[in-house]
Amino acid sequence: MSRGPELKLSTKSRVVPVTMALAGTIALAACGASNESGNAGAGGGNSSAPQLSGSLNGAGSTAQTAAMQGWSAGFSAVQPKVTVNYDAVGSGAGRTQFLAGGVAFAGSDSPLSDDEVTQAKTRCGTDGVFELPNYISAIAVVYNLPGVDKLSLKPDTIAKIFAGSIKKWNDPAIAADNSGAKLPDTAIAPVHRSDKSGTTKNFTDYLSKAAPSAWTKASADTWPFTSGEAANGTSGVVNAVKNGTGTIGYADESQAKGLGIADIGVGSTFVAPSPAAAAKVVESSQVMPGRGKYDFAYTINRTTTSADEYPIVLVSYHIGCVQNKDKTTADILKSFEGYVISPDGQQAAAKAAGSAPITDAVRAKSQTAVDAITAGA
């Protein structure tokens, strides 16, 4: 036999690597996170509000992830003993978890459906839910076309580009929107989101309302066509637009740095996306009628003609119960939502996520809902 295994093993030698591994883990665990210690006393000076302690769990929209970072960081200065956890599981899953009672609030890129409003009654009692438009983000139409620094597009033109009926950058329709610009004979590669997303829903909603003749599909959170480049998430779209030439896509304005951003036709002029213009269009929109007293779900005014409003916006809501069973949860929720809609909170989100701070008129409405949050029943 060519192989003669020696089966005598030294026990000592096996212990060494295992011990080493254990020692390494323990050493790592022992040092602790440097930024977590001593946090507790940091914000104690703010004594206007009673100090709460506990945790608040939310889940939902991925669009709010960065903003939630800002809010939970800022809120820890107001209420240092409170931890706010947020799972960016997606709006749909967030709403489902909220309705099932798993989390205290949901973050959602679209308001509850009529069906869900009914379900919410059983979850929250007769006072129902509050829905607050806490996160507003302008969706920019971004493009990468060397030599073209400024681009203006009417709604019909955008719809035709994304539907695939305009195929070249020097198409007469684009040229008509951009008199005097030199447009190359490059093929257009429209980039859309491959994942189901609130951004797609808001963008298609805009197209279906602002360009009903060119865009025949209804608003949907999955892209309604089977052609075109697809990319995962806002960062994926930005990356794809950046890597290709002749590409055009839609992405949160805050993430569009380094790309060409198109001005959108509003009324008779063209408007560039900006936080102020995005917040303004929400102010001019209607609250959906026939829902709860504190249910501020908006029907966005996509067909606005005012030159200081930008109609392609994503509005993401915080959804929670007006009446909460648990006193601690109610107190923390009230304090947290109060912070979120405050100018400080909106500024924190703008800094962390580049969102558009809500206008005072919208805040005044939301404040009534926050004031109504109670514990009981």
Binding site: M1, S2, R3, G4, P5, E6, L7, L9, S10, S13, R14, V16, P17, V18, M20, A21, T25, L28, A29, C31, G32, A33, S34, N35, E36, N39, N57, A59, T62, T65, A66, Q69, G70, S72, A73, S76, T83, N85, D87, A88, V89, Q97, A100, G101, G102, V103, N232, G233, T234, S235, G236, V238, S254, Q255, K257, A348, K351, A352, A353, G354
Partner: protein, 360 residues
């Protein structure tokens, strides 16, 4: 060796016995010469077309291989020439493989090294906006959850493999083999949903526990563990078992003292591969463990951060401006690789110390 030891294929056609003299062989420098010549040809070809490093290497390899084959066929005969051709092909396959793999490692290191600093290892993401922050919480979370997964999966996987190879007979063996195959087909996200649904029964909806993530990962790891451990155990020669039985050693002691130690190096590889299968899993952890900014070391209480989820979120939700988040994502990927490398090294050490010395 048992009855099948001799290769069944007919012996290679030996050269006709008329000539006793061996065929002439190419000198040792022939290979080098062939490829040097090929390089010259490649430059000439390159002058005609566009020359860059890629085409140069490609031309050199192809021309050199063909030249060597042709010369060898003329001097050394058909069989030797084929041998040289295969040698070149195998070497070529190895070289081709290294390109993407090395570029991958290079890319991750290049992008990840920017944030590979002390802060990344000793701070979490509590209160971090913009620059700074780290993955201390995620590194520990990954270690804890993967550790739990290994503790659950390796014994089950190994014992099942032992059962299949050593004990199993008839229907149950066939059924388990079949079901392990089925189990390899569970998409990772489905495993996550399953674990979530399971824990939601006991802890209510919206539950997020480290242990649930470990269960989800175990569902993915067990079949991989069984399949590869089975493959390795099968390769232990029957002679060893028979020798042990002949000495009156009980079967279970034979397995523990002879079969497993003989296969320990392969089992080490199996475990490492199985860990590699799960340590980078993102989707199941997303739905079972969630993510948190703070450090949580208790897998039985609440959300934990893990490196892959951390990396995924930092890449897809980088915040404003995005650079800092993206840097953290690449560094997390780099740390994940380093972690796996460390585990791998550990497995190597273990199998080095455990494995019996063999002839190879």
């Amino acid at each position: 060796m048992s009855q099948t030891s001799a290769p069944q294929a007919p012996a290679a056609p030996s050269p006709p016995p008329t000539s006793v003299q061996p065929r002439p062989r190419l000198p040792r420098w022939a290979t080098a010469a062939a490829f040097a010549g090929a390089a010259v040809v490649a430059v000439l070809l390159g002058v005609l077309t566009a020359l860059n490093l890629v085409t140069f290497v490609l031309y050199t390899a192809v021309v050199g291989t063909l030249a060597l084959w042709a010369v060898s066929r003329r001097v050394e005969g058909r069989r030797k020439a084929k041998d040289r051709l295969v040698t070149s092909l195998v070497l070529g396959a190895f070289a081709v493989t290294l390109v993407p793999l090395l570029s991958l490692v290079y890319e991750v290191v290049r992008r990840g090294v920017a944030r590979l600093d002390g802060e990344f290892f000793n701070s979490s993401m509590v209160g971090i906006i913009g620059p700074g922050g780290g993955a201390y919480h995620a590194i520990l979370g990954t270690l804890i959850i993967t550790g739990l997964t290994v503790v659950m999966s390796v014994p089950i996987g190994l014992l099942t493999a032992v059962y299949l190879v050593e004990y199993g007979t008839g229907r149950l063996k066939r059924a388990i083999t079949f079901l392990v195959d089925v189990m390899t087909g569970i998409p990772s996200i489905v495993a996550g949903l399953f674990a979530y649904a399971l824990f939601a029964i006991f802890f209510g909806p919206g539950v997020r526990l480290g242990i649930a993530g470990a269960v989800a990962l175990s569902v993915l790891m067990i079949p991989v563990m069984v399949r590869s451990a089975e493959e390795v155990l099968k390769l232990v020669p029957n002679e060893l078992r028979e020798a042990a039985y002949a000495l009156g050693v009980p079967k279970w002691r034979t397995i523990v003292k002879v079969v497993i130690p003989t296969a320990i190096a392969g089992l080490g590889t199996s475990v490492t591969l199985a860990i590699a299968r799960v340590i980078g899993e993102t989707a199941p952890l997303l739905v079972t463990v969630g993510i948190t900014n703070a450090t949580n070391l208790d897998p039985f209480d609440g959300r934990m951060a893990t490196l892959p989820v951390f990396a995924y979120y930092q890449l897809t939700q980088p915040g404003v401006p995005p650079e800092f988040g993206i840097d953290r994502a690449w560094t997390a990927a780099l740390v994940l690789i380093m972690l796996v490398m460390g585990l791998n090294l550990l497995a190597r050490l273990i199998s080095h110390f455990f494995a019996p010395k063999t002839g190879r």
